[in-house]
């Protein structure tokens, strides 16, 4: 058996990370968290999370960057805003989750078995191409990237939806000038100097 150190030295924590997250919109009061747990109590998905929302907040502000960015929690968050409206010090916990997701994608974190990240990326691409998200296109792309077994598992439902006219089989929804939306997004990327995932 290999013995591992299970606690971190303070010097290993990434304080800078905490300050950066606290700068994202909605996270300004991150350092005022009183650890009351109201967010975790309100969260309908917390029973599945490896870190509860309260712990995510605590660990983020202490600088446990690696632990937070590799947690399942940020990919399980369904953006229901239940935590956000409960927080007594006005931390928009949902927005903190978004900020963490962005960071995780930018830095290449993200557990493979959780498809949330793939979904976000498939969606991003579709809208960039067409200006709108055709559900069929997004889903096909997601499950193709996720693996054949996923595609097969979703097929019966897809067929039912197609039969009832709720899944356009061939057409793609597109705005008249998708280039306009592309320009919009690219202008911002230019300004930021960043690139899309």
């Amino acid at each position: 058996m290999e013995i591992q150190r299970t606690i971190k030295y303070e010097a290993e924590l990434d304080r800078q990370f905490a300050y950066e997250i606290a700068q994202s919109p909605g996270a300004e009061t991150l350092f005022e968290c009183i650890q009351c747990g109201a967010c975790s109590a309100a969260c309908p998905v917390s029973i599945y999370m490896d870190l509860t929302p309260r712990r995510v907040i605590a660990m983020t502000r202490e600088g446990f960057k690696h632990e937070v960015l590799s947690s399942l929690t940020i990919w399980l968050c369904s953006s229901c805003y239940a935590c956000t409206v409960e927080c007594p010090v006005g931390i928009k916990v949902t927005d903190v989750m978004y900020a963490l997701k962005q960071r995780a994608i930018k830095e290449g974190y993200g557990p493979r078995k959780v498809l949330t990240r793939l979904l976000a990326q498939s969606f991003f691409q579709a809208v960039k191409e067409d200006g709108r998200a055709t559900e069929r296109k997004v889903m096909l792309r997601l499950y193709r990237r996720a693996g054949l077994d996923h595609l097969i598992r979703m097929a019966p439902l897809g067929l039912k939806l197609w039969r009832t006219g709720r899944l356009s089989a061939f057409g793609t929804e597109r705005i008249k000038n998708p280039a306009e939306v592309r320009t919009l997004l690219e202008c911002l990327e230019e300004q930021e100097g960043g690139k899309s995932p």
């Binding site: 599945y48 399980l76 979904l119 889903m139």
Partner: protein, 293 residues
């Protein structure tokens, strides 16, 4: 002013088609003018915020600018669109640096963001024009005896509620009662349906769907009425799996509030998109069965 700038959003062109159809039909029947916002683009939904906040705001802002140019309030039936558009508007007021970037980018496309295009949900609009009383006068086929669970979902209740007091509001219940149907107590009316989780983390998503459906059945509801295409989709398309897994045989139709209203106004079911549903809604047959029993 050419009526509301109707913003269907991507879901209403696909899985939520019957929401689109029933919103249009009901607005027409009630004489509230609406015209699609020309060349609208995807609001960005939750996926964009996961990638980059600023591009998410930019996508939503383009729609705000289009509506501003037209000079009409936005009508957004999808709560996700409603939230993203509203949140963008609020954040751009609150964070001038982000606003600056977005405004400049939009200018390059010849668009002007404007400041306060109203963003409204059909529940709000119809409760004012024509108003519940006027709607009551127009009811032709009251849905007597139908027991309905009112399900708001998350985003009409928080974080930017469509009513002043989201904890005690009865705006959806009032609409259901106007149709002549009965409202069952439904404690989970603003509990999350799981959103995209059914598609990406199946076990968690199915459990959330199950909790909502079980409660509706326990209260004796014969239909769940929603205001959200994602809620409708989750509760209907994953119902079989969620309930079967827990040994429940019963199934319960999940409708949009505009469909219920449309039926009571005497509109043909087909015009309301009812034929697109996977779990058929047959109130007449239900009532008959009960009369026999």
């Amino acid at each position: 002013m050419s009526g509301y700038a109707y913003y269907p959003g991507c879901s209403l062109l696909g899985t939520g088609k019957s929401y689109d159809e029933s919103v249009r039909a009901v607005f027409e029947a009630l004489g509230v003018p609406l015209q699609e916002l020309e060349n609208w683009n995807c609001c960005g939904a939750t996926a964009y915020s996961s990638i980059d906040e600023c591009t998410a705001f930019a996508l939503a802002a383009r729609n705000l600018a289009l509506a501003h140019r037209r000079g009409d309030p936005i009508l957004a039936p999808c709560p996700n669109c409603y939230l993203v558009l509203t949140k963008t508007q609020r954040y751009l007021e609150q964070y001038p640096e982000i606003r600056q970037r977005i405004v400049q980018t939009l200018e390059r496309l010849g668009l002007n963001l404007g400041h306060d295009v109203p963003i409204r949900h059909p529940l709000q609009v119809l409760s004012e024009t024509p108003g519940l009383e006027a709607i009551r006068q127009k009811i032709q086929k009251p849905l007597k005896g139908l027991r309905v669970a009112p399900y708001y979902g998350c985003l009409l209740a928080r974080p930017y509620p469509i009513v002043e007091d989201p904890w005690n509001t009865t705006i959806l219940e009032d609409f259901i009662r106007v149709t002549g149907a009965e409202v069952v107590p439904y404690a989970y009316r603003t509990r999350c349906c799981g959103g995209a989780l059914t598609g990406v983390v199946r076990e968690a998503g199915l459990r959330m769907v199950y909790i909502l459906l079980r409660e509706a059945l326990r209260q004796g509801a014969q239909a769940v009425v929603t205001t959200c295409p994602l809620c409708q989709f989750n509760l209907e398309a994953f119902q079989d799996q969620a309930l079967r897994k827990n040994g429940i045989q019963e199934r319960i139709p999940v409708l949009y509030f505009t469909q219920l209203l449309g039926l009571a106004l005497g509109l043909p079911p087909k015009k309301l998109g009812l034929h697109r549903h996977l779990i058929p809604f047959q109130p007449q047959r239900k009532a008959l069965q009960e009369a026999v029993a």
